[in-house]
């Protein structure tokens, strides 16, 4: 059974493209949330294997969501990969320092996104199985 990935992004189009990429190309089970609040609720309820979190969102931004996720003992171990549009603005080390597993840059290549995510999360074997 494929890994479950929760995508938290306020942009419906990006959620859809990322969902298609992770489902169709990566073979993951994808959950989506349109806001940080909703994302945290879904994470608590569904306990996904990983969370792809957009940094720039209205109301509750990615940093705050990350903080809340990491402060919740039930879900703090779920790896979070940040999705950012900032040009070279955040490096892997900085994201890790903030408690995230890594960074994915926007715009992403949907054909490569599952592989990049797997590499960050150390799911290379899983990725190869679906490739």
């Amino acid at each position: 059974m494929g890994k479950t990935v929760l995508i938290i992004d306020d942009e419906a189009d990006i959620r859809e493209v990322a969902t298609a990429s992770l489902q169709l190309v990566g073979g993951f089970i994808v959950l989506t949330a349109a806001s940080g609040q909703h994302g945290i609720a879904v994470a608590r309820q569904e306990k996904p294997d990983a969370i792809v979190l957009d940094l720039m969102m209205p109301e509750m931004d990615g940093c705050e969501v990350l903080l809340q996720l990491k402060n919740d003992p039930e879900i703090r171990d779920i790896p979070v990969v940040l999705l950012t549009a900032k040009v070279q603005g955040m490096k892997k080390e900085m994201a890790q320092a903030a408690g995230a597993a890594g960074v994915l840059m926007k715009p992403f290549d949907p054909m490569l996104l599952p592989a990049q995510l797997s590499e960050i999360l150390g799911w290379a074997d899983v990725d190869r199985e679906h490739a």
Partner: protein, 590 residues
């Protein structure tokens, strides 16, 4: 001109005063001589009169002696005695008057002898009357002796009087001549002196007028300067060496809400934030290896050594409000080269800061708002082209690839614009670490492998040893850009060589292609934004025209330099020179 005039003023004044001094001296001495001469003339006249009175007294004495001889009345003896007494006195005076020259003394001796002889005759007459009676006295009177003596005395006196008279005339003549010549000389000298003083006055007048003109010109220049200062859109404040404010312009008063009177004499530190001064003092002190007081010294420490200093800091208004300024501090020196004060020119950068904030917000919005649709477009197209959502006919795939390529191009353009903005605004944060040169080169070459393969170009990387202290991501971005350009402009089957070699304490990376080359006049311009060798390159080669500008910015921020060499038709070489790291690379340490 003023120096020449001053010389003539001094010369003519001194000459005029010297001449008038000489005239005064001559006049004084001449007057004294004239007074003395006049006195001598008076004495001469008096001597002549004394001789006459001597003669008259002798006559009186003789008349009295004869009266006694004729009458025997003692009354005549009394008048005789009185006449003799007066005669004695007058003779003393005459002796004094006629004692100056040998001629006088001779004449006087002769006169004295004659007078004594005549007095002897008078005494003989009186004695004869007393002792021998009337007739004996008459005999003496009738004798010729007395008359002869009287005639001799009269002649002697006349001679002496004539001599004195002639002398008197000579002296009067001499005095007149001397007075005349002196008057002429004094008149002439006074005239010349007056002319010289008038000339001096004229020169002084010209000097004063010249000075007035110079002062007027100075005042005018000062007015113009003040007008310029007051119309300048900069706060200009000058201080003495201790930081006391000496002058301010209108902008300074207006911005800071202080009057000119309030600012003059105040310490410049009242216009600064004490915390900023403290921070600057600490920062400067650290850099210069010394302790700097967090007061006025913190502002001028660099400028006082002649180092132009520009500071971004806050000015504090009278009401405590702060506003950001760009402050330029310059040391002022006098003609002798000694430090005389400081000039503080401040530009209000509130607007600039506002624009920078707006730009930051704009960049942030562009970064997010442009990338979000681009992400969706690229993602959707990518899924289509990758066949994830089904198979498309060949013509559809070509159109899709076209759309995807241009999405990539638009993404690069957005990335490049945002990168360049960060570099040019100095907001590009570099995360430097010591990196092995070989690792950087391998990563760069690896990043362009797909591109090179699709262009049928071989990238030959010749990794070198050593290490550099760089932001590896940014430096790989530079090399990838240079390699990408080299690949794009190389013909299929050709080779791009990526090498590095040390030179002293630097290392030079070179990316060499065998492409079409760059004309000499465009070698420098290719590093400018939107500058491409051929205007069609951006369309045909897919570049944004910003890549090399970004490369230059990144390299410069690493303390390095980038340049291009080329021969038309033979190819180009792009070189990047970076300082070698002093420590071991991160990977090697690990």
């Amino acid at each position: 001109m003023a120096r020449g005039l001053r010389f003539w003023v001094i010369l003519t004044s001194v000459a005029g005063f010297v001449l008038l001094g000489v005239v005064s001296w001559v006049s004084y001495h001449t007057t004294r001589e004239l007074i003395a001469a006049n006195q001598r003339l008076t004495e001469k006249r008096k001597a002549i009169e004394e001789l006459t009175s001597l003669h008259l007294l002798l006559d009186d004495a003789e008349s009295s002696s004869r009266g006694y001889a004729l009458t025997g009345s003692p009354e005549y003896l009394h008048t005789y005695s009185l006449a003799l007494a007066q005669l004695d006195s007058t003779r003393q005076i005459v002796r004094h008057d006629f004692s100056s020259t040998a001629s006088h003394r001779r004449g006087l001796a002769e006169l004295d002898a004659l007078i004594d002889a005549r007095l002897t005759v008078m005494q003989e007459l009186i004695r004869a009357r007393q002792e021998q009676g009337f007739f004996a006295a008459v005999d003496i009177v009738q004798s010729d002796r007395s008359r002869k003596l009287t005639d001799q005395i009269r002649r002697r006196i006349v001679v002496m009087q004539n001599e004195e008279h002639n002398d008197l005339l000579d002296r009067e003549q001499e005095s007149r001549q001397r007075a005349h010549s002196t008057t002429s000389a004094v008149t002439l000298a006074s005239g010349v002196g007056l002319v010289l003083l008038v000339a001096a006055l004229l020169f002084i007048n010209r000097l004063l007028r010249h000075r007035e003109r110079v002062q007027a010109a100075l005042h005018n220049a000062e007015r113009v300067q003040r007008a310029i200062l007051n119309s300048a859109n900069h706060s200009m404040i000058s201080t003495d060496v201790t930081g006391r404010i000496l002058t301010t312009n209108a902008a300074a008063q207006k911005w800071l809400h202080y009057s000119q009177k309030e600012l003059i004499g105040a310490s410049i530190c009242v216009l600064h934030d004490s915390r900023e001064l403290q921070a600057r003092a600490e920062g400067l002190g650290k850099a210069m290896g010394m302790t700097i007081p967090s007061d006025f010294q913190a502002l001028i420490e660099k400028a006082k050594y002649g180092v132009p200093d520009s500071i971004e800091c806050s000015y504090v208004r009278k009401n405590g409000e702060r506003f950001p300024v760009s402050l330029s501090v310059t040391a002022l020196r006098n003609e002798a080269g000694e430090l005389s004060g400081y000039l503080m020119i401040a530009t209000d950068i509130s607007e600039r800061r506002k624009v920078e904030r707006m730009k930051d917000e704009f960049v942030s919005v562009v970064s997010h708002e442009l990338r979000t649709p681009l992400t969706s477009i690229k993602g959707a197209l990518g899924l289509l082209a990758g066949g994830a959502v089904g198979t498309l006919p060949e013509s559809g795939r070509r159109m899709l690839q076209l759309a995807l390529n241009n999405t990539e191009r638009l993404t690069r353009l957005v990335n490049d614009i945002l990168d360049l903005d960060r570099i040019e605004s100095g907001r590009l944060a570099l995360h430097k670490e010591t990196c092995a040169v070989a690792a950087l080169m391998r990563e760069s070459a690896s990043s362009v492998r797909v591109l090179a393969e699709s262009a049928h170009v071989v990238v030959e990387a010749v990794p070198a040893g050593h290490a550099v202290e760089v932001d590896s991501g940014r430096m790989v971005q530079v090399f990838v850009n240079l390699l990408g350009n080299a690949i794009k402009f190389s013909s299929p089957g050709s080779k791009v060589v990526f090498a590095a070699e040390t030179r002293g304490d630097t290392i030079i990376f070179t990316v060499k292609d065998r492409g079409r080359g760059i004309p000499a006049d465009k070698l420098d311009r290719v590093f400018e934004r939107f500058e491409q060798v051929d205007a069609s390159d951006s369309r045909e080669k897919g570049g944004s025209g910003l890549g090399l500008a970004i490369c230059r910015g990144i390299v410069q921020q690493h303390g390095g330099r980038i340049w291009a060499e080329s021969e038309l038709g033979l190819g180009s070489t792009f070189s990047v020179e970076l300082p070698l790291a002093v420590s071991e690379p991160v990977a090697a340490r690990a």
